[in-house]
Amino acid sequence: MRVHLKVWRQAGPDQPGRLVDYSADHVHPDMSFLEMLDVVNEQLIKKGEDPIAFDSNCREGICGSCGLVIDGIPHGPDKGATTCQVHMRRFRNGETITVEPFRAKGFPIVKDLVVDRSAFDRIIAAGGYVSMNVGGAPDANSLPIATHVADQAMDSAQCIGCGACVAACKNAAAHLFTSAKITHLGLLPQGEAERGRRVVRMVEQMDAEGFGMCSNEGECEAVCPKEISIANIARMNRDYLRAMLR
């Protein structure tokens, strides 16, 4: 099959960007979307042109490196999937596909489709952990945790930190990402001691990074490759309010 691409090209953070037309021939339906871009890049290199820069690593949907906006949807048309898990059989022969980076104030563009998501690391550094040093841990079975609690914590802990939630949000809010970590740790007894301090610091860091406010439209949940629920956001807001009122 053959597809036409409109790809966002931008040489650097302060340079103007634009959509550039490419066509990808000899596309096999079993190719992943990123493998199709690999093929386009091979052709560009052969022609002596600058290949399209994009991030990817594990190519099996877990590392969170990849993230493209495909026809307006972060990670593309498949529900519960990352960009690297989208396959070309999802598209029609002759179709035109628009490919853009995740766009948000908190994610400045580095080059082409590569964005800087280090703001997420700084949000985690502001308290997304349990403060314990190696060596002091009690026996792992000394503290039973009900399965439904552990399961719920795991649902939130699955976040891969890709940033699709931010890219989908019209306010470029990072509430789903931040609340997933707050919920994961807040549900577990190990995270209880720092629950109030954690939510306050992480929310403040989120605001300082330039992410917007949540207006409760659920776009984040709809594109999340791990299908993390916006109930996490409600929980974060409750925890935040409770911590501030203390």
Partner: protein, 637 residues
Amino acid sequence: MILDARIPSGPIADKWDRRKFENKLVSPANRRKYQIIVVGTGLAGASAAASLGELGYPVKAVFIHDSPRRAHSIAAQGGINAAKNYRNDGDSVHRLFYDTIKGGDYRAREANVYRLAQTSVNIIDQCVAQGVPFAREYGGLLDNRSFGGAQVSRTFYARGQTGQQLLLGAYQSLMRQVDARTVTLFPRREMLDLVVIDGKARGIVARNLVSGELETHQADAVLLCTGGYGTVFYLSTNAINSNVTAAWRAHKRGAFFANPCFTQIHPTCIPVSGDHQSKLTLMSESLRNDGRVWVPKQPGDKRPPAQIPDSDRDYYLERRYPSFGNLVPRDVASRAAKAVCDEGRGAGDSGLSVYLDFAEAIKRHGVDTIAARYGNLFDMYRRITDENPYDVPMRIYPAVHYTMGGLWVDYNLMSTIPGLFVLGEANFSDHGANRLGASALMQGLADGYFVAPYTVANYLGGTTLPAVSLDHDAFGAARSESQERIDQVLKVKGRRTVREFHRAIGSICWDQVGMARNEAGLRQAIAAIQALRSEFWQDVSVPGEANNLNPGLDYAGRVADYMEFAEALALDALERRESCGGHFREEHQTPDGEAQRNDAEFAHVAAWEFKGVGARPLMHKEALVFEEVHPTQRSYK
């Protein structure tokens, strides 16, 4: 040079305690006077950097990704072993030690493996305290499952994402130290050289992958935690950015490379669908608990599987290994699949796959039970192949998954360069010739949380380390050499892309240095690698420039290193004239086609010393002494 593994004396169970007591210490007030560099932020790197930061050492964490959390440890599915004996089923430190030595086909160092088994119990405590959401039972206690053919249930897991949850635990501890300002992150930096001054590791050259600038960093100790070299085969289950560059450059500065021929090929991967493919995806080997593996009896039988009656099918694992059947270990299952495909009996258009059939299991247990057991794996398979495994048999084929070889380290995880430590998959130490399932996560975290903090302190406390400045000639020289290599690769301006060369080297390695190896093939491979290397430097086409984000240039540097490393891999395979674990030499097999070890001549670690590109490296042997476990022939008939 005599390789001294510096194994503590005394009974095996006391060795680590003895070493910890004998170790030099660095007092809390003095720790901030040292600089430590940790390269890589997978399980080994993140846990080491976090632990050293907690102790008060200033740490620079240098990594190629945009965030420490992207390292490929994140993709590990199955679980992590620990000798907790929470099941009361007879597990113990000694049994985990024994299983690991035997599983490695008696090619690992006993003392290291014993320490690994000892520290395994602390890892689980540490991770639970960090908030890792392991699977639990209704009573609230931790769940376990059996894995990788073990007779006890000692594997802890977090759904099918154990690696992710363990790495996020280590990452969070690391970010806590970033917040505490003990650890500084250097994202999107690639280590290009190790700086050695007066015989000691004193820093690195790293390239800023966004600006293209070469940076030098001074250190009192450098920890390489940069993973394995599986991507030398081009297609593997590794992440596409995984590479050997940091380890190889350290090797070129004097760190010996041990047992590079010990590579693990995992039997249950989704097969290659076409030459566009960039990587392969593993499916948990638990599928073999209920699926039956078969191929058509007749070569060239291309009928759809449903039209091939039972009488025309060869359930070859059940036929060859009646007692273990479909549950033989990874290396045995992989070789058997290759053998039937080589006979022309493989399934699919390519002929390079075998069927993994659940029809009988579905008939016996019902669709719902099978979906409950394997639903997520079936979904993953369907997403990638567009075939429904509930209706048609899955197709699987072996793929490169893990590399047991790596830089040689002593008991303290220090390489042959004082001050250079190597942790996790990047070292050679604990898995011998074959790694057992759920042992990689255990080793990465043992090295980082529980071994390196003691042994690095011992080195710093017991070594005179005069201050060195970045103005030292050695930094300038290493930086210039890195720059020259970059300039050289950009200057070629040939016709073939880096990916084409990567595919070519991968295909040489896969065909001749893959699941089955022989002398003639290995000699051919070495000649082919040498020829390809010179073609690379004459005909490679690297796009763009060195002064901005240029993933094509980064890729070129990594593939250039594979052009050198692949030769070491093939040479090691040639020189090891025996079969053991994942290393199968066709000349050395039992009459019924199983791996035949040669303990008299090859019960050693082969540690290679670099002597120049194209020059034959020098092999040093570390004899493996088995005092606790008596080596026997593995049999699965």
